[in-house]
Symmetry: C2
């Protein structure tokens, strides 16, 4: 097991990464000893891992309350939060109770938001069981749900007490979800660390094969990179936005095809190709770097083209994206592998060109 | 106009108190110049004050979006938040938008919570138009809504950018609501400041008569007292709980008779008499002090006895109160006028006795 600390002052917390650690009582004990632990999970994850977590919590003397939520992105709506809060009130959970989020990004976002608003905020522990959750959603404190008019439009910044990322759990993850999680790992290399990107180019097949050592390194390094950015800009007022590389396009893809039909990581993969194209069009990224972006994503089995959507539809969808500042659309672009910058000086034509260059839809006459 | 500052480090903010200040553009300009201002109000308050606020915002170059919510406690439910957020998304509000809460405690709680969760948190300004909101809910950053199983069970600590408390607005407040607001003013004297309590005993009729100078002093001193406590314990981990004097009983009254039939301040008034009785029973408060508590509340036209509820029902209702720590019920008691302490060493019999001594219901045989 390896650990790192996210440096957020009084909200600092540890991330533990290793194989087989989700049943380790010693990792829960500092946060849960003698308290009520509210395990939030779902019918896909619980049969695989709930017993081990329950036993670990019992070993540290925590009372466990178990709450099952729906599986999938559609669970990220208010009704689920209301049900979790209702079950907690019925179980007489007070402000000293701690939520334990056992599952992927949806469970973490939901359970974290329930913790953020239950009686005006209680602590929570993340036990992410998907690669996406381990390298992305469990680091940085973003929690929330979707609104009918937009994804993640309702939420809170709420940092966990600890993250317990068991790469052993990735063995039961469908291959498609493992690949989707790798999109965010690759993103971390692309925006922040050329050496890590090279390591990924050398180890992509081992990661896809589930090698525990390679996965531990990839998860730990991803978390370190993200944690550095989060520590410098907890509430996304500037720097942190570079972690949204590929996400403005990606969110438009997810919304355009209907949430749930593309996985988040798949949409981000295609979105990163578009963002790389946009960078190339602006002259800040050379063609060989764009080719490396496409190549590693293709080797990871991820889409490198968008769905059959007209580029007009992308722009329409992006205008309501929450990263839109004062009416202009901002993009994260690359000035080389490992060097991301925020820019908002693109013309509409450049954006259309980047999309059309990576889209399954024929460019409409304009 | 007088101003004070709530000392909360990077979340510090000013409270301005005076007659006729809600239309003063200079008070909004530092927070809203050039931004989108989302005015949240309701059909009772808007016809009286919206135009003045709108004109002040226009004078500082803010774009105004106006969102009307239902009047009354029943508005504090998720559907209202969802509608506010939907309207903000439709108006393309981004993370730089600022919510302006124009109204009483319900509007402040709702609009503040919408600000806390909109795109994971945006700023807000409180323009409280009721006495209760001016002296209580607008200070301290508590925001939230009710759950079917309990009042204020869902929420966030979210501090405003500024509070603009116009005592001129109290002239249009129904007398019953003015009285209910005075319950919290009296509470601040009782738990923290014997000299202020004496001042209130000397000026209660002027306050009821709407004297602007008396009201400005009462609002300002209440805010100062509350602000000191909040600054020392922002998230209610200890000290801040003394501000809940009378509230454990009061919440039980509100829930027992059905939310909305007693005003919050009315329930707190009867609850403070119960808490004073409990203190007297424990030997920490003498009979003459209890008599002063009853006398000032009676002069303010507030209830000094609970509704026709059996004391068993109170205990039942209090067990689910969010201040219940690890299964025990904690009470704020008095060790004299102006000196509150937290205690959790009461037997059930003492609690029953305190309720029965101030209740309209005959004590059941036990």
């Amino acid at each position: 097991m390896q650990s790192l600390r996210v440096a957020l002052g009084e909200r600092a917390y540890p991330i533990h990464v290793g194989a087989g650690i989700l049943g380790d009582a010693a990792l829960y004990a500092p946060h849960l000893g003698g308290r009520t632990a509210v395990i939030v999970s779902n019918a896909v994850v619980a049969p695989l891992y709930l017993k081990r977590v329950r036993d670990a919590l019992a070993a540290c003397g925590a009372r466990a309350v178990e709450i099952m939520v729906e599986d999938g992105e559609q669970a990220k709506r208010w009704e689920t939060i209301d049900a979790v809060i209702g079950a907690m009130l019925e179980a007489r959970c007070d402000r000293r109770s701690v939520i334990v989020a056992l599952g992927g990004g949806v469970v973490g976002d939901l359970a974290g938001f329930a913790a953020a608003v239950y009686q005006r905020g209680i602590p929570f522990v993340q036990v992410p069981t998907t690669l996406l959750a381990q390298v992305d959603s469990s680091v940085g404190g973003k929690t929330g749900i979707n609104h009918a008019l937009g994804k993640n439009m309702i939420g809170a910044f709420h940092q966990p007490l600890a993250v317990i990322a068991d790469v052993g759990a990735l063995g039961t993850l469908p291959q498609r979800e493992l690949r989707a999680g790798l999109a965010e790992v690759i993103k971390h290399g692309l925006v922040l660390d050329a050496a890590f990107f090279e390591w990924l180019e050398a180890h992509i097949e081992q990661l896809l094969g589930g090698d525990p050592q390679a996965l531990t390194h990839a998860v730990l390094r991803s978390c370190e990179l993200k944690a550095q950015v989060v520590a410098a800009d907890e509430r996304e007022s500037g720097l942190r936005a570079i972690l949204n590389f590929g996400h403005t396009f990606g969110h438009a893809i997810e919304a355009g095809v209907g949430y749930g039909s593309w996985l988040h990581g798949e949409a981000v993969a295609a979105g990163m190709v578009m963002a790389a194209q946009l960078s190339a069009g602006a002259g800040t990224l050379d063609a060989s770097a764009v080719a490396r972006v496409r190549a590693i994503l293709a080797r990871a089995g991820l889409p490198i083209a968008g769905p059959a959507l007209a580029s007009e539809r992308y722009l329409e969808l992006m205008a309501i994206d929450k990263k839109a500042a004062a009416g202009t659309i901002r993009f994260v672009t690359l000035e080389g592998i490992g060097r991301a910058v925020l820019r908002d000086d693109f013309g509409v034509a450049a954006v259309h060109a980047a999309i059309d260059g990576c889209s399954a839809a024929p460019a409409a006459a304009r």
